[in-house]
C-alpha cells in the first residue's frame, strides 16, 4: 500500500474505475453517479474486480469475491472500501 495515495472519495473511485475498465461514451460520467447501477454505466463484475485489484494495491483494501460480485453501485463499493481504510489523520 502506498502511503501517499489521495483520499478515496467517490470522484477518486470513479476515476480509478475509468482507468481500470474504460469509459463508455454512452455512459455519461457527469452529475451524481454514486447511486447509478454499475450496469447502466456499462460496467460488469469483471470491471469491479479489475477496480478491486487496484484498490488492493493502492489502498490495501481486500474485498471478497462475494463483495465484488454483490456490488451494484459506486457508493456501495466506496462504503465497502472505506470500512478498511484507516480514517485520514
Amino acid at each position: 500500500m502506498s502511503e501517499h495515495m489521495p483520499e478515496l472519495t467517490i470522484d477518486r473511485l470513479a476515476r480509478v474505475m475509468r482507468e481500470c475498465a474504460g469509459e463508455d461514451e454512452a455512459a455519461a460520467f457527469d452529475g451524481d453517479i454514486a447511486h447509478v447501477p454499475l450496469a447502466e454505466l456499462g460496467y460488469d463484475s469483471l470491471a469491479v474486480m479489475e477496480t478491486a485489484v487496484r484498490l488492493q494495491n493502492e489502498y490495501g483494501v481486500h474485498l471478497t469475491d462475494d463483495e465484488i460480485f454483490g456490488v451494484e453501485s459506486l457508493a456501495e463499493l466506496l462504503a465497502l472500501a472505506r470500512r478498511q481504510i484507516p480514517a485520514a489523520s
Binding site: C20, A21, G22, E23, D24, E25, A26, A27, G42, Y43, L46, A47, M49, E50, V53, Q56, N57
Partner: protein, 406 residues
C-alpha cells in the same frame, strides 16, 4: 439445397484498413510489410512483419479498450464493416438466428504477454482480471457476439493458418442447417515478443532485413515467410434468405470445402503435398466442379523451399499441365495465421467481381515449380471460380472453392 452466399465483408490488413482501401492497395501491388515497430526486434532472428497500426480509441467504445487484445480490436472493426456491408440492421433478424464462428491461432497473445510481464515484474495481484478471457482463442467470437447482440450458434476453430477456411466452412454448415446468418472468418496476429518467439521457433521466418528480399514464395531464393496481422470477417447467409430480407447484393458463393491432416512428419519421407492434394480434390468434389472449372488459385505460399515444393506438387497434380493462374496477395501482408484464408476468400471474390487477379510482389517464380504465378501487375481475367488453399503448422490442410455472384 440453396446456395450459401457471402453478403458482407470487412477487411483489416497491413496494406489497407477496410475492404476498399485493401483492394486498391492490393491491385496497386502496395506492400504493408516493414520493420517491426510494436517492439524492438533487434535481438531476434527476424525483424520484418506486416503490422496494422491504428489508434483503436478513435474507433471503438472506450470500455472495450482495457479488456481487448490488439487482434480483438481489429476483429471488431472487420466485423463492424462486414455487418454494415451486408446491410443487416440491428433487430432485423432474430438475435438467436445470427451466429459467430471465427478462427484463431493463438488468441490474444499480446495481451497475455503484457499480463505475464506484470506477473513476473510486479506480482500476481497486478494481473488484469480481463486476462481471464482476453487471451482466449474464442475471445474474438465472444466480443463480436456481445457487441452486436448475436446469440446464434457460435464457436471458434483452431487450426493455425488453415483454421480461417475451416471457420467459414463451419459457418456454411450452420447456414445449411437453417441459421439465418453467420459472421465468420478470422482476424489474427500476435506481434509481440512472446508471439515472435513462438513463430521464430518454427524456423521458417525469413531473416531478411529488406522487405523486397523477404517472403518470396516459389522463388529460387525463398528463405522463409514474414508474419502479418489482420484478416477478414464475412457474413454468410442462405441465398434465398438473403434475398427475402432484401440484401442489397450477393458478393459470391461458398461452393465447396474440405480439410485434411498430414501424416506424422518423417525425415525419410518428406512432405509431398499428398494431404493437401486430397483436401483440394475433396473440396472440388464438394463443390461439384472439376479442376478445369477453376479459374484462379490463391496459394498458401509458405515461402520455404520444401513447403513450396509440396504445395506446387499438389496443385500441378490436380491441374495437370493447364497453367491456371496462381495469386499470392499475401506477399503484401505477410502470413496472417488464421486471418490469411478468409482474406484470400475476400480477395478471390473481389478478383472475380472486378476481373482483376492481384499480383504477388517481390517474388520471381522458379520455373521448376510449374506454377503460373501472377506477378508484377494484376492479370485481367473474367474468372467465375477460385480455389483457396491454406496450410497450418503441424499438418493442417484446408481448401475452399468460391464462385461468382449470379
Amino acid at each position: 439445397m440453396s446456395a450459401v452466399a457471402v453478403t458482407g465483408m470487412g477487411v483489416v490488413a497491413p496494406n489497407g484498413l477496410g475492404t476498399e482501401a485493401y483492394w486498391k492497395a492490393t491491385l496497386a501491388a502496395v506492400s504493408g510489410i516493414g520493420r517491426i515497430t510494436r517492439f524492438d526486434p533487434e535481438r531476434y532472428p527476424a525483424t520484418l512483419a506486416g503490422e496494422v497500426d491504428l489508434d483503436p480509441t478513435d474507433r471503438l467504445p472506450g470500455r472495450l479498450i482495457p479488456q481487448t487484445d490488439h487482434s480483438t480490436r481489429l476483429s471488431l472493426l472487420a466485423a463492424e464493416e462486414a455487418i454494415r456491408d451486408a446491410g443487416i440492421d440491428a433487430g432485423e433478424l432474430p438475435d438467436d438466428q445470427v451466429g459467430v464462428v471465427t478462427a484463431s491461432s493463438a488468441g490474444g497473445f499480446e495481451f497475455g504477454h503484457r499480463e505475464l510481464d506484470k506477473l513476473w515484474r510486479k506480482g500476481p495481484e497486478y494481473v488484469s482480471a480481463y486476462q481471464s478471457f482476453a487471451w482466449f482463442y474464442a475471445v474474438n467470437t465472444g466480443q463480436i457476439s456481445i457487441r452486436h447482440g448475436l446469440r446464434g450458434p457460435s464457436g471458434v476453430l483452431v487450426a493455425d493458418q488453415a483454421g480461417g477456411l475451416d471457420a467459414i466452412a463451419q459457418a456454411r454448415r450452420l447456414v445449411r442447417r437453417g441459421v439465418s446468418a453467420v459472421l465468420t472468418g478470422a482476424v489474427d496476429g500476435s506481434l509481440c515478443p512472446w508471439g515472435w518467439i513462438a513463430q521464430s521457433s518454427g524456423g521458417r521466418l525469413s531473416g531478411a532485413a529488406d522487405p523486397a528480399l523477404a517472403y518470396r514464395p516459389f522463388d529460387a531464393e525463398a528463405d522463409g515467410y514474414v508474419p502479418g496481422e489482420g484478416g477478414a470477417i464475412l457474413v454468410l447467409e442462405e441465398a434465398d434468405g438473403a434475398r427475402a430480407r432484401g440484401a442489397e447484393r450477393v458478393r459470391g458463393y461458398v461452393l465447396g470445402h474440405a480439410a485434411t491432416f498430414d501424416r506424422r512428419p518423417d525425415s525419410a519421407a518428406p512432405d509431398t503435398g499428398r494431404g493437401l492434394r486430397r483436401a483440394v480434390e475433396l473440396a472440388l468434389d464438394d463443390s461439384g466442379l472439376r479442376p478445369d472449372d477453376i479459374d484462379v488459385v490463391f496459394a498458401d505460399a509458405a515461402g520455404t523451399p520444401a513447403l513450396d515444393r509440396a504445395e506446387a506438387a499438389a496443385l500441378t497434380a490436380v491441374f495437370g499441365d493447364r497453367p491456371v493462374p496462381v495469386s499470392v496477395p499475401k506477399t503484401m501482408t505477410g502470413r496472417m495465421c488464421a486471418g490469411a484464408g478468409p482474406l484470400d476468400v475476400v480477395t478471390a471474390l473481389l478478383a472475380i467481381e472486378s476481373g482483376q487477379i492481384p499480383p504477388a510482389v517481390h517474388t520471381s517464380p522458379a520455373a521448376h515449380y510449374g506454377l503460373n504465378l501472377v506477378v508484377g501487375r494484376p492479370l485481367t481475367l473474367a474468372a467465375r471460380t477460385a480455389l483457396i488453399v491454406a496450410r497450418g503448422f503441424h499438418g493442417f490442410n484446408s481448401a475452399m472453392v468460391v464462385g461468382a455472384a449470379d
